[in-house]
């Protein structure tokens, strides 16, 4: 085992923090989706088990295989999308759509056309759809100010303080401060939280056209543009010349069995990846893959005790989860809105996408994100496409990223 001598404490710590942040922030969004779907706590723990196992297996496998710190997670914008679709969407339909989305990503991964396909989507429109999906979460922070002012103000202050002092790890501190504030101001009781092992539950997939168009396709799209694109950019920015093909292939293959237990698409982490790819993980880039393996092992631990994680989140007030999710996504909203504004040549089409997605409209049974892209693309073709396309390709800006 050559891997044994590569082990370092710093890499393990980086992996641990990455997992902790995933459970602190993005998991809150998943809980909002679960609350919207009105499912039982045992079903919730099956979901958490599935996303954790998916991230664990793909993260360990890819990191060991490629010797690169590949941090995987579940699709954060994808779960945000879920929140808007439940409870109109049935669990079985959701699982069917997860499988379809995984198949789309697999096909793109195997064919090696990731970069080409990403280039086809006008970057402003992709960013605008992300901003539109995430927008409600940001606004939710401030509507909580009206319903539970003490908790909201406290968490807002904690967010500002920790974001200023510990920008990297603020989510972990925010989670802890938030729990304290929830107990103090909202009378939340943690007595019901106990050690509880996961009980995975099998869900029968069901395919419908509506779920395919309003969940599967937008899910594949936001996973590719909101997770794989920035995730790959972070890896490449850290000096790893890794190809997208094995990562997309493995992540989507792992997604499939996990989907049957309620796990949403497994993707490359964007929020936490940078923690494990930099110098903090290990001075030697060749040994940072240990951080990826470590994060996978911590995910396994999380999977084992997913019952306890669910109990913790369900014993906290709904506003707490909304605040945590919203504050965790502030950075992502900011970078996506900035990406929209940066694409000056198709600004109006992007704004239309944003408006349609943020409106939460549903038309012919299809969700707002789908229509956002449809209307945005129509507006793009009507307004911005030049009849003569010689030479000047659309300039790609910074990826529309979920960033810390």
């Amino acid at each position: 085992m050559s891997a044994l001598k590569d082990i370092s404490l710093s890499a393990i710590a980086a992996g641990f923090v990455a997992v902790l942040i995933s459970y602190a922030g993005p998991l809150a969004i998943f809980f909002q989706a679960a609350q919207g779907a009105e499912i039982s706590t045992s079903m919730m723990s099956s979901w958490v088990w599935a996303i954790s196992i998916g991230a664990a297996v793909s993260g360990i496998g890819l990191s060991l295989w490629l010797k690169v710190p590949v941090i995987t997670a579940w699709s954060a914008p994808g779960t945000a999308l879920l929140v808007s679709l439940f409870p109109g969407l049935s669990l079985n339909e959701a699982v069917g759509a997860y499988l379809t989305a995984a198949a789309i990503i697999l096909a793109i991964g195997v064919s090696g056309s990731f970069d080409r396909i990403i280039r086809l989507i006008p970057p402003g429109i992709a960013a605008a759809m992300m901003a539109g999906i995430l927008f409600q979460f940001g606004v939710g922070v401030f509507t909580s100010l009206e319903s539970s002012p003490a908790l909201a103000l406290g968490m807002l202050a904690a967010y500002l303080l920790f974001k200023r002092l510990f920008p990297r790890y603020f989510l972990v501190f925010l989670l802890m401060a938030g729990i304290v504030l929830a107990v103090l101001f909202e009378g939340a009781s943690l007595q019901g939280v106990s050690w509880q092992l996961a009980e995975p539950q099998l869900i029968r997939p069901e395919w419908t056209l509506g779920a395919t168009l309003s969940l599967a396709i937008p899910l594949a799209l936001v996973s590719l543009t909101g997770q794989f694109l920035p995730g790959m950019a972070i890896l490449r920015g850290a000096g790893y010349g890794t190809e997208a093909r094995p990562i997309l292939t493995v992540a989507s293959l792992v997604s499939m069995p996990m989907a049957l237990f309620g796990g949403i698409t497994t993707v490359v982490a964007a929020i936490t990846a940078a923690l494990c790819t930099g110098k903090e993980a290990h001075p030697d880039p060749g040994k940072r893959y240990v951080a990826g393996v470590a994060s996978g092992l911590f995910y396994l631990l999380g999977a084992l005790f997913s019952g306890s994680i669910v109990l913790l989140f369900t014993s906290l007030p709904v506003t707490f989860v909304a605040l945590l999710a919203g504050l965790a996504l502030i950075g992502a909203i900011s970078s996506n809105v900035a990406a929209v504004a940066a694409q000056k040549d198709h600004l109006e089409a992007s704004i239309i996408t944003f408006l349609a997605t943020a409106s939460g409209m549903s038309l012919l049974g299809l969700g707002a994100a789908f229509w956002g892209v449809v209307f945005g693309c129509i507006a793009y073709l009507v307004l911005h496409r030049r009849p003569v396309r010689q030479g000047e390709g659309p300039g790609r800006a910074e990826p529309a990223a979920i960033r810390r």
Binding site: V139, I333, A356, L363
Partner: protein, 411 residues
Amino acid sequence: MKHIEKGVSLRRAPGDFLRDLNADNASAGLVAGIFGLSAGVIHISAGTAAGLDSAFIMIWVISYLMINGLFGLFMPAYYRLPLPMANSIPGALLFAAVIPVVGLEAALGATLIAGFIALVAGLSGVMSTVMRLIPMPIVMGMIGGVLLSFGLNMVRPLENAMLPAAIMILSFFLSARLIRKVPPLFVSMAVGIGYLMFTGVDFSGIQATVRFPEFIVPEFTLAAFLAYGLPLAIILVGMETPAGVGLVKGMGYKEVPANAITAVGGLGTMISSFFNLHSTCIAAPMTGICSSPEAGERDKRWVAAVIAGAIFVVCAPFYGYVVSLIEATPGYFIAIIAGLALIRVITSSLAIAFSGRKHEMGALFAFLIAASGIQILEIGSSFWALVLGVMISLVFETKDFEFAKGKQAVA
């Protein structure tokens, strides 16, 4: 008065007007005037959405056209620059939203104070100081958040009135792309009215009325000032004037009377407050039309602004006709027209807020807070958006502030 810039001459203006008049500036002036008239639709939809009485909305819009039009005759004629005057659209939306909360007289009292602040800002030349205090991206983030609901309301009719909504929106964008000279807003409205006639909407109740601005005495309350007067003053001084001045400068005019535009706008706003109107200021979109190269030779573009002002004054008393026309239409019609009229304002405010890479976080918080529409201590979200936006920006983006520039090297 030493900060107020000197103009050319008012006495010779009528003669020079005839001398400089040509097809280019006449057509640009016509388009700007029509654009300004159609802006009344925003007042009507905002007022209706806020539950205001339709009779009040009418005298509001009539005052807007009459008072702003008179100032719009004077400013370009005196300075010989394309400086059309109109009212602040974000201000109009705030005004409509705040009336049910604080009452009309109190809102107008806040308008009077806001106008006075603008007058003082212009007379004393403190414009630049105010600009430093509240960074433009944060103001624009707030505006974007306030206006966002109009954009969302434009999209929502697609759910239950898909066909008319789709053809109105599509015709707007197709005409924006294909027919440059006709305002897309008018094409969209014509298409919408055509659809309504075709499906048999009853227009028989429409009647032409003649009305004039009505006098009213404002009242002063602190709540109205905080929720509306202060944001309005900031909009007038910190947003409308710089936007208009920037536009004119951008079109190649070297000497632009920034202080006079602020002061005259302030004086006009003070007068406005006695006539159910919320502001008088330079109008950025109309300024764009009047000062653009399409208005012909640069030295003669001022004529376009004068024509726009004249259209306002002449059309004002008959605006009731438009109001009753609009009342006969279903709700989505106005929602879509208002959204389309504002989409460029929303787009440019978001672009200004987020493309400068400065005060991004403050702008985002201002945007989200304004969009959330929360009310704390009876004070509206636009105020909190500015306060929290600036505070957050002070903490996180200290180096983006003008005053920090001297001390810190560019990162």
